[in-house]
Amino acid sequence: MSLAPGSPDPAEARTTTAPEVGAQAAQDALAGRSASGAIDPVVFDEAFLRQLERLHLVLRRSVRGGLVGTRRSVQHGQSVEFTDYRDYVPGDDLRALDWNVVARLERLFVKLFVEEQDVTIHVLIDASASMDSGSPDKLWFARRAAAAIATVGLASYDRVSVGVLAGRSARRLPPMRGSARVMHLLRELSRVGPRDGATDLVAACRAYAAQITQRGPLVLISDLLDAQAERAIGELAATRCEVSVLHVLSPDELEPPLEGDLRLVDRETGQRVDVTVDLATLDAYRARLAGWQAMLGDACTKRRAAYVPVSSALPVADLMFAELRRRNVVGA
């Protein structure tokens, strides 16, 4: 799978899928060139990468980080940003004494500064069988979006943790940090494929939540085609991460190209239902879809999560620079 997500044709992208994508492929991807040699005209070329590096994921409150980074931490540290004074206690670094105050008040005070640390950005990809459908493919879109978000995180010197939700578990890729890890990240994302069988989104989210040790922005990319999707969002929100939900639906799901007496087969569960599709049925479907999205939006709002419904046909550039910025998930 080439992560040249700007390719308008997912089928073409699927033809380049390979279990192992080498560095050359990643270089090609970065250069906006697919494995087949065709020029990828839109994203992940040099210019797009430069644009992504100007973005950062918005963190609305400070969290405790790990290594020194660019994010304000709740800890006091060595940055140049002054925060407070406190009385000197033996053992403090004498370089932290404010000698001007000592001279004026003849008391010892230590200057405190804001500590700047990195945060962990969690990107969760729903790899259920239902995501492997639609035109363009929803999973293909999810990998492109995850790659773009992760690239933003790596460019911001944050730690990026990618999780793949499938079945009842969550496979967490090794956290990465630094722009140099972009190639590795893309390669890992290229290996993400759909999983056959049913997926318990709640259990998978709970499994990932149990693995979170450092809080930070959490982006869930899923079609949420699960009756318990609201609970899954709740599981993630319970980690006190700043959750954003990218609700991905394909154009075929937004406007089903169906007509007549049909037997619909569930790609994930194999369940079959008979339906007669006419304009009235399609109207009812649209109404149900709109109500369902509204319900998910309300659930996200209650949990202070951002809800971003998108179509899998949406270009990644529009996603990053329009949709996510408009909803304050990323900033410039």
Binding site: S133, L254, L258, R263, L264, Q271, A280, Y285, A290
Partner: protein
């Protein structure tokens, strides 16, 4: 209520079949979707292996069951029975005379009569028979013993108004004959009752009348004639306007010469009277004169405004202006003073005279004579021109002289003899006359004793010929007023200047058209432009019979040159015209005395067909009591005729079509909605259902399915 076709109830078996089709599970094509979760509330059925499914409430099912029920109801032909109001055998006479074209009822009286006649048929008992007679200018049976009301209605609808006098007497005779075939018949006449009811008809069954028409307002051109004074200097048009209305009206009379208006005047027409107008300024050279009657721009004081003229047929008339060519007449013989005086008084005539010996010697034989008068002599040879022979002394082609008659008795001439028009010979006395055997080509004009004619006339070898069996000096005819009129009539017929030449032809009348010797037939152009060709009859009299005179207007008659004869009018026959109509030896029952038409010359001639019928102009409707009186009174306690049936299947069929339409609309409602949506999409800013990139658009809608 009863059923005419109860076997059709078998069709009810279709109802369980329809229900079973709805219970059968259909075979659906499979489509893989990402999830069926969003569809779960919209599905019709969950997968099951059973071939049957539970019957659900469906609008389509209800409509289709209703369609099946209605179809069965149509097929079983339910009828509602009621007592019949008519006899089992009915003869329906529909008046189709010209007065039925009056528009005092919508659309006109004939249309109202057709509707009334069809309505009358509702009272016909089941299995009843109806014969329908169209009483136009001739009586015609349009349906004979029809039992199917629809077929009878079609026959009634085929009746068209004629342009002439309706022959109600003949129609009633025909109805009487048809009604006599069955006992208990009756005759119903649908008529406006206008005109004079026949009196010489008796109908042996009861007669009922269904009247139509409401008003009597009509103004008509009752006469139009053109005459030239004896000097030929002045032409006069005589127009007579009849007002049949009971109010005074003002109408505009417009006269046209060859289609060009040349005068118009407003006439105040008194109540129920005729107004005669003489117009002197007829343009010279005009061939066709047309008179039109129309509404005047303003009405005089005291008149009722907006008095309608309900009959338009008699608001126009045409007349053929007599030809004013100078004729040359040669008299062979002594030419007495009475004869010379009578002939010299004729307009546009040049009179010449020679003796029989001079004629035999060849004198004046090469003259271009229009008429040769043999006054007491027989010319040898006989001139090849029209001949008026007076007292021929010897046998000749004009007739064999068998002897002499002394003081012969004068017989009763035919009333419609054209030569005796306006001629009273009841006081004629003849001292001596020739006993001449009537030739085969002649008709008796004035009969004498025992089949011996005193005056006879006819067409001999294509040449009009008239013979007086007595010399003028041997009678008191020259002393009577009738003589110059008779002379004018005879020479007029022989010269083609018969006063009847400008007389109109009655609509539907048979016209005898002389065919010139160098012509193979006649080409006749009707007022509507239709062209007909006629050939002379086999009788050898050089006459062709033309019967298609139902249209009002001017008929153009042209001779068709014989092959190889070059003439100014020689031209090939119109390939688009109908095939030549052979002259009919028997014109039919309507053939009365043929109208004479000025056609003796070889050029183009015209004749006019006009509706100068006072009985048709008087459109005052009546209740038809005069017609009822012609029939036998109905018995006071008529026998029960039976029951009439009102079939319901047409109404049920209409309902079925309506339900079918609704069913189709329900079935195709998606198609209609798509068309509507696409049309709206064509209008800028009216596009609907578009979803943005985030795909959150959706609209509420019906949850029903088909």
């Amino acid at each position: 209520m009863s059923l005419l076709a109860p076997l059709a109830l078998v069709g009810l078996a279709a109802i369980p079949v329809i229900v079973a089709l709805y219970m059968l599970r259909m075979r659906r094509p499979e489509r893989t979707v990402s999830s069926t979760w969003l569809w779960t509330e919209l599905v019709r059925d969950v997968e099951a292996n059973a071939p049957w499914q539970r019957l659900r409430r469906s609008l389509l099912l209800l409509l289709q069951l209703l369609c099946a029920l209605l179809l069965v109801a149509v097929l079983v032909r339910p009828v509602l029975e009621r007592p019949a109001t008519l006899a089992h055998d009915l003869v329906l006479v529909v008046d189709a005379s010209a007065s039925m074209s009056a528009t005092d009822v919508p659309l006109d009286r004939l249309d109202a009569a057709r509707r009334a006649a069809i309505q009358v048929l509702d009272g016909l008992p089941a299995g009843g028979r109806v014969s329908i007679i169209e009483a136009g200018d001739t009586a015609r049976v349009v349906a004979n013993e029809v039992t199917d009301p629809a077929r009878a209605a079609r026959a009634i609808d085929s009746i068209r108004a004629s342009t002439g006098t309706g022959d109600m007497a003949e129609a009633l005779r025909l109805a009487d004959a048809l009604a006599a075939r069955a006992t208990g018949s009756e005759v119903i006449v649908v008529t406006d009752g206008a005109g004079i009811a026949p009196t010489d008809v008796r109908v042996r069954v009861p007669v009922r009348v269904v009247p139509v028409g409401r008003e009597r307002h009509n103004q008509a051109i009752a006469a139009l004639a053109v005459d030239i004074d004896p000097g030929g200097l002045r032409r006069q048009a005589f127009v007579s306007i009849a007002n049949q209305s009971d109010v005074v009206v003002t109408r505009r009379l417009q006269l046209l010469a060859d289609g060009v208006p040349f005068t118009a005047r407003d006439l105040r027409l008194p109540v129920m009277s005729r107004t005669d107008v003489v117009i002197d300024e007829v343009p010279r050279g005009a061939r066709i004169l047309e008179a039109r009657l129309s509404r005047a721009d303003a009405t005089a004081a005291g008149e009722t405004a907006d008095v309608p003229d309900h009959l338009a047929l008699d608001d126009a008339a045409w007349a053929v202006v007599p030809e004013d060519r100078t004729r040359q007449i040669l008299v062979i013989g002594p030419a007495g003073v009475f004869l010379r005086t009578a002939l010299s008084l004729l307009p546009d005539v040049e009179l010449y005279g020679v003796s029989a010996a001079e004629w035999t010697a060849g004198t004046a034989r090469d003259g271009d004579w229009d008429l040769v008068v043999l006054d007491g002599v027989i010319a040898d040879p006989l001139p090849a021109t029209p001949i008026l022979a007076i007292a021929p002394p010897t046998d000749s082609a004009l007739g064999d002289v068998l002897g002499a008659l002394t003081a012969p008795t004068i017989g009763e001439p035919a009333t419609d003899e054209p030569l005796l028009r306006d001629v009273d010979l009841t006081r004629l006395h003849v001292a001596r006359a020739q006993r001449i055997e009537l030739p085969s080509w002649a008709r008796v004009v004035l009969p004498g004793p025992t089949d011996v004619p005193l005056i006879y006339s006819g067409v001999r070898d294509g040449l009009p010929t008239t013979v007086l069996a007595f010399a003028l000096e041997q009678s008191d005819l020259p002393l009577q007023v009738a003589w110059p009129i008779l002379a004018a009539n005879i020479t007029g017929e022989l010269l083609g200047r018969d006063p009847s030449a400008s007389q109109p032809v009655r609509p539907g009348a048979v016209v005898q058209l002389p065919v010139p010797p160098d012509a193979s037939g006649l080409r006749i152009t009707l007022p509507d432009g239709t062209v007909r060709e006629v050939e002379p009859g086999v009788a050898g009299d050089g006459l062709a019979t033309f019967v298609e005179t139902r249209q009002l207007g001017v008929y153009r008659v042209e001779p068709i040159p014989k092959p190889g004869v070059d003439g100014p009018d020689a031209r090939p026959s119109d390939p688009g015209a109908s095939s030549p109509t052979p002259a009919s030896a028997s014109p039919g029952p309507a053939a009365t005395t043929p109208a004479a038409v000025d056609l003796r010359a070889s050029g183009t001639r015209w004749f006019a067909v006009d509706l100068f019928e006072p009985t048709e102009a008087a459109i005052t409707p009546s209740d038809g009591s005069a017609l009822v009186a012609l029939g036998t009174p109905a018995p006071e306690a008529p026998a029960t005729a039976g029951v009439a049936r009102d079939e319901w299947w047409p109404l049920l069929l209409l309902v079925l079509l309506g339900v079918l339409t609704v069913e189709w609309l329900v079935y195709e409602r998606d198609g209609a909605r798509r068309i509507r949506d696409r049309l709206r999409a064509l209008v800028p800013g009216r596009a609907t259902g578009a979803s943005g990139p985030s795909g959150t658009a959706g609209s509420g809608g019906r949850s029903g399915t088909r």
